[in-house]
Amino acid sequence: MKRSRLPLLVTVLVLIFFYLPIIVLIVNSFNDSRFGGTWEGFSLRWYARLVSEREIWSALENTLIVGIAATAVSTVLGTMAAFALHRYASTLQKAHYMLIYTPLVVPEVLMGMSLLLLFVAAGMSLGLVTIFLAHVTFCISYVAMVVLGRLQDFDFSIVEAARDLGAGWWTTTWRVLLPLLAPGILAGALLAFTLSVDDFVISFFVAGPGSTTLPIRIYSMIKHGSPPLINALSTVLLVVTFTLLFITQHLVEERRK
């Protein structure tokens, strides 16, 4: 039976659609031209200028501080939330589930705006701390959902076996449950870190002077800066992302073998 070629065609078009802008951007980052409309020869000068931009480096530092702190806190809170949701079936957990679920679908503008009002009402000065608090808030739900997904496939008879063999609650949790769930928790943490490092909208609302993160810096460069410099910065970030994804994918394949 002959299959229709239409799905293949659409898939190819979608992939071209996905990658064409990214490829043009990468090619242009090596273009000597200031405006990037025409090819004026290969050049690395935008990369050289990138290294000397002090504001980018301090923004990167802020991004990593917030990203690591928010990932650590939201991974702990999200994992605990997933345990609670999976283990208990009470009215409390129904409310808990709704509270975890809703932030996933609330537009970022709303979350940014409402957190800004909270911080203003509480008289807090805006800065890295408020960005950190905001990031933990939206990361908890993602971590909880990823870990909950793994818990649903988890074979709890192993835990019961450990208990039957005399392990206490603490030992079972630390020596049996957490090590077995580590890949799921790690996946949740990775997602939280990516979301935190990439977040612009919410950070933009709750950032103060001196707490510019990399996405906020990139945004102001897009608005006012020179395009070739953003091309170079974007290429560096894309290479980092591709490498990380490739390694993750490779590890997954290794584990399957």
């Binding site: 039976m1 979608v14 609670a84 409390l92 809703t102 996405p215 994804l245």
Partner: protein
């Protein structure tokens, strides 16, 4: 005496299990109450407060801000927000369904790489992807030059700063979100069903529409919601590639917050957006019950 023992252990068990439950629930519940529920309530409250001078908020309560949303400029922005989001959703579903189908039907090894190809844009920076389009659509950009050279476009037409540009970049941004749930549903679909339909005389299109599409409807529903709801709240895309004529609610909220320093007004608009989101959200809140029941039987998402 013998009958008493199980009862007391049961009660003990109940007491023991409720304290750990509270201990393990409280951190996330407390955090989200303080940083998610309370801010939402503050937004609703401030929408009814009068705006003070110098970006402050005055005492007392007023309907003034809500009433000013009737100002002719707003309905047109709300309307544009809704239609841009709806068309984006439609385009994403139309592109994601054949793609999800193709990826799900391809051999395992190829499938893994195709899936990775779809996920990569999903993990790359959102701002960078918008910027890439800004460069492509720029008057000196490659796309404009090519189209003019092919006589498909008049040299004076602007690709950037229009509702069309906003639409294009929104589809680009949200498409991976649509492909993933549709692929997840298609991967679980039993393709012997479409083959049976073909054997019974259905055309490929009939088999696709009458058997495959109903089979993956939960995936399509998820895709609609994960595209439509964030699309309603779009702010960066219209800000960077749309002009003054392509503003959405998100832009007005940001403008009222950062430029005019009118927090009550920004809150009223946020409340408006919240209501717009709440409508499809209600569907979603009822849907997970079905998804979760399906999960238990092993064929859910």
């Amino acid at each position: 005496m013998i009958a008493e023992e199980p009862l007391s252990t049961k009660m003990n068990h109940k007491l023991r299990s409720s304290l750990p439950e509270i201990l393990v629930t409280l951190p996330s519940l407390g955090w989200l109450t303080v940083f998610f529920v309370v801010p939402g309530v503050i937004v609703l409250a401030i929408a009814f407060k009068p705006a003070g001078a110098y970006g402050g908020i005055d005492d007392g309560w007023t309907w003034e801000t809500i009433r000013s949303l009737g100002n002719p400029a707003y309905p047109s922005i709300v309307w544009r927000t809704v239609w841009l989001s709806a068309v984006t959703t439609l385009a994403c579903i139309l592109l994601a369904t054949p793609t999800g189908y193709y990826v799900a039907r391809s051999p395992l090894r190829q499938r893994r790489w195709l899936l990775l190809a779809v996920i990569v844009p999903f993990w790359t920076s959102f701002l960078i992807r918008i910027f890439a389009w800004k460069v492509l659509l720029h008057p000196d950009g490659i796309l404009k030059r090519t189209l003019v050279a092919l006589n498909l476009l008049a040299p004076e037409t602007s690709l950037l700063y229009s509702s069309g540009a906003v639409l294009l970049v929104m589809v680009y941004t949200f498409l991976p979100f649509a492909v993933l749930p549709i692929f997840a549903a298609a991967e679980k679909f039993d393709f012997r069903l479409t083959e049976a339909a073909r054997d019974l005389g259905a055309t490929p299109f009939q088999a696709f529409r009458r058997v495959f599409l109903p089979g993956i409807r939960t995936g399509i529903l998820t895709a609609v919601l994960v595209v439509f709801i964030p699309a309603l709240g779009s702010y960066v895309i219209p800000d960077l590639v749309g002009g003054p004529g392509a503003e959405m609610i998100g832009n007005k909220i940001a403008q009222r917050t950062f430029v005019d320093r009118n927090l009550p007004h920004a809150s009223a608009l946020s409340a408006c957006l919240m209501l717009a989101v709440l409508a499809p959200l209600l569907v979603l809140l009822f849907a997970p019950v079905r998804f979760r029941n399906r999960d238990k039987t092993g064929d859910g998402l």
